[in-house]
Symmetry: C2
Subunit: 553 residues, 2 copies
């Protein structure tokens, strides 16, 4: 899909979904990739660990790929990078914190020989025909950037994940001057974060959280446990400051939390006063009101710190009355139930639990409607592509843009894989490339597809019955069986009458096959499936998966 | 558990959960049951259709059970009644609408010979030593009642599901005078709805919804489709009034919606002006802007009307640009994701979708904090049991009661199965009876237990591998196999190398068994499981369920 004097923008992830953000920018023979994120599987993707974007288009065009540029270090923007770099080793540009977090990931995946190129907000780099600039943003992790891509046909501004926080924790204001300057010069396309497009007004400042946290620390008489996203460095920094103020030592628990705290501290993004951090073993040397435990599991992940504490299976912490638990995160859609269960369990253990619905200890990292309007008015692009959101959020964001005067036909509701083609004056959807979800399950990348998932869904709801028979190779006579083995269907001890009768019916079906000289296996299997399926449905209104297996001797 | 001069209150469902509300009131030899509801299964209860309370205690005490009394006709209060009446046939008292909805359910379950006793708000009935009164409440269904139980040791007030709506759709105000009168006379125990105990302020009135609906009808140029709970008769009434105002005919789709509309209309609870209702086939005789479609599926249930429309698989309605979809319900926790998906799909079809987050077309039917305080102050009980809520909601409600002056030791945080024992002056938790969840799966009630669910969970995440071998009965020699069949594990066509090698390893294991004269089946099966499990985990980091089956000829 090479086109002279045309800029192609191809989102491979992040449109119509929250997660696995990845966008291709292509001009002539140069491809630059913005972000390579992962998504966490939805509930119906049974057994899947991670979802990454389908990268076929890039692999087919690997000789054109020049670089990856990163907005910031969250998993939904960097988490699939190791899968890309395994295939196409190109330089990766990002701020030091983002690259620090990437490096940890690459090491885990035992990737070497990669080429990480640190940049600072304000920097500009040249890659082929692209002039790419990093703009200081503000989000829940330091040095989150917006980017601009200046090309021969015009400039594209991508906000990255952002909100407009007038009082950020690290004191680094979003560079609204730069957005304004770009808007003044003229912007061809704006791509902007739609996560909170449904939310009116302004997103709260990180400053408000500081005050709410302070209040909780002031009142807490025992230990404080705070759970948040490991990557929410802002929230961690606030907890560190507040702990110091109230004379509490800090214990960090959970692999990803330890990793982020180490990387962010080493790189100077997290200020951790000398002597604040202690090891879990040292806790007993301090009073309960001298302890802050930072841990993971704010999304209800069953193996993470908070879950283990709630179920009383944590190695080093057991929760009791007097403990204060701060859950400083909003449940991602789909996680509400598991988070609620954890809150209930912690209450049952006697803890005082502070969670978002009734507290101010968390604010979103994404811009609400008034901030989105400000961004649109600052940049005043000719074309607008709402990104980073489920379809209804993109739709709402598009509507906001139209209300501000962007022409309806210049607002693009995109899908992953759409090829947006721009010239100096025109923009259109020019085609579609392969895009979609690749499932990571254990070590397998892409070996679990829709058929396997469908099987898992049936197994999960109805269970399975295996029917085994041994037939004589010559005569086709039944030598042994039918044996019926079920899992996930009924509790066999209580249902022996049902299973015995099922066996009788299958045997009768096999005998009918034999006396009718039906000997090809697929017909026999079909018979078994039909007879057994019908009987079980009649008796139970369930349709377990039925697997007939024929052995021959 | 018979005790003279003592009142026992035993919640069998609804505490620490939203759903399956059921409470036992026992004095001497008389048991009265308040509500017999069902719960919808949580995500991890794979394949389960419904959850009902464990009724063992009642079955063990069946000779004492005198009656069931109902607060209102919602599924979480009446949905398990047919399972109880099958075991213990006692009279059921409730308002006509509640009983009308019960009757439909009983007919579906082909139960006959039941004894439904209609009452009106304001009525009092005597059952054994209980004097039981029905108090007009206000909720999202007409004639929702609070109840009081006067006994020789004192009076218990149960609010039922309620909010304090000053402008209800049917004009029937909650009888605050009665609650005040009871409070004046002295109340021993209050049991009150905790659903919205986490929500500050007041719950919106149904009146506000009328205004928001009117606005949507005024603007809609094409068809309007409104999805809500079938049992939300208030919301349906509002839609009917508004449709009439704007000259729209009404089509009712979905079995449960048709059922509720018929019952409520027949009993005079739903005012449906002559000629308003039309059949689906008649729709084509009218213009799009003369149509309102009422349907189910507001919770994202995959088989319900709205889901089918969103996936373009509905029999009589296909959604297109110009249609307005009103989703007049709040997603129950756990359903957020499926509801969001439906909204996205409807937007993609070009429809204008109005849903709670960005509209006023729905309000909760449950009291918020200020209403809960008013109820507590009106009734001013000696003892307080927060009910109808997850643990954190009960906890919050309990805290509110304490803030209003109820002694900490008189506020009971209960669990299902707790036996609360009251005398004239004292209250305490006096023991525990069997309580819990019984799973309904298809026709089976209780035949799927935790083992089956655990199997389904493993199957759903990792899939299954069946290994079949045929052995010689005399020598134990391998005659056929091992054959490996997998489902939900890997896509076999792409993984033949893996499966072939797995087969080789199992064969080697079997040969080792043979040469070591290991012939008992459990040892052979253990060997197969170990060798195969280890190999597959090494290669894939997954642990499919492994079922070895040995046939003998």
């Amino acid at each position: 899909m090479e086109q002279k004097n045309k800029l192609l923008i191809i989102p491979l992830g992040g449109l119509g979904e929250i997660g696995k953000n990845m966008t291709v920018f292509q001009y002539g023979d140069d491809i630059v990739i913005l972000d390579v994120g992962l998504a966490f599987p939805e509930d119906d993707l049974l057994g899947i660990d991670l979802v990454i974007p389908d990268m076929t288009y890039l692999i087919d065009n690997r000789d054109k790929v020049r670089a990856v540029v990163l907005t910031h270090g969250h998993e939904d923007h960097i988490g699939a990078l190791s899968y890309l770099l395994k295939e196409i080793n190109v330089p990766v540009y990002g701020t030091r914190l983002a690259l620090g977090l990437v490096e940890g990931r690459l090491k885990e995946n035992r990737l070497t020989g990669y080429n990480l190129m640190p940049v600072k907000p304000g920097d500009e780099i040249t890659i082929g025909e692209f002039q790419i600039g990093f703009i200081q943003g503000s989000h829940s992790i330091p040095d989150a950037c917006g980017l601009y891509f200046t090309t021969p046909v015009g400039t594209v501004v991508h906000t990255g994940d952002f909100k407009i926080d007038q009082t950020p924790v690290d004191g680094k204001l979003i560079d609204i001057h730069k957005f304004a300057e770009l808007g003044n010069k003229g912007v061809l396309v704006l791509m902007s974060d739609s996560t909170n497009a449904e939310r009116p007004g302004y997103t709260g400042s990180e400053r408000e959280v500081t005050l709410a946290l302070d209040e909780e620390f002031k009142q807490a008489k025992g230990r404080i446990v705070m759970a948040t996203f490991a990557s929410n460095v802002s929230r961690i920094q606030q907890a560190v400051y507040t702990a110091c103020k109230y004379g509490r030592k800090i214990v960090v628990l959970g692999r990803s939390m330890v990793n982020v705290v180490n990387v962010a501290t080493d790189l100077g993004y997290l200020e951790m006063p000398e002597g604040t951090l202690i090891e879990p073993e040292e806790m007993k040397r301090f009073r309960d009101d001298q302890i802050l435990i930072l841990t993971t599991g704010s999304q209800g992940e069953p193996m993470a710190g908070l879950s283990r504490m709630a179920t009383n299976t944590h190695r080093s912490v057991s929760i009791s009355a007097g403990d204060t638990i701060l859950i400083a995160a909003t449940p991602i859609p789909g996680n509400e139930t598991s988070v609620s269960k954890i809150i209930d369990s912690l209450f049952r253990l006697g803890a005082h639990v502070v969670y978002e619905k009734i507290s101010g200890i968390h604010v979103s990292g994404h811009a609400s409607q008034e901030e989105l309007k400000l961004m649109l008015n600052l940049v005043r692009p000719k074309f607008f592509i709402p990104v980073h959101g489920e379809y209804r959020m993109l739709k709402k964001h598009g509507k906001i843009a139209e209300d501000l005067g962007i022409a309806h036909e210049n607002v693009f509701m995109g899908n992953n894989g759409d090829v947006f083609e721009f010239t100096k004056d025109t923009g259109r959807v020019a085609g579609k490339v392969k895009a979609g979800r690749v499932f990571v399950d254990g070590l397998g990348v892409g070996d679990v597809g829709n058929i396997v998932i469908r099987d898992r869904q049936q197994l999960s709801k109805e269970g399975i019955i295996v029917v085994v028979v041994t037939l004589d190779k010559q005569s086709g006579a039944l030598l042994s069986g039918p044996d019926l083995v079920s899992r996930g269907f009924v509790y066999v001890r209580d249902s022996s009458a049902l299973m015995n009768e099922a066996q009788v019916r299958v045997r009768a079906a096999l005998e009918r096959c034999e006396s009718n000289n039906i000997s090809d296996w697929s017909s026999i299997k079909l018979q078994v499936r039909e007879v057994l399926g019908k009987y079980l449905f009649e008796k139970t209104r369930r349709r377990p998966m039925i697997i007939p297996i024929i052995m021959e001797v």
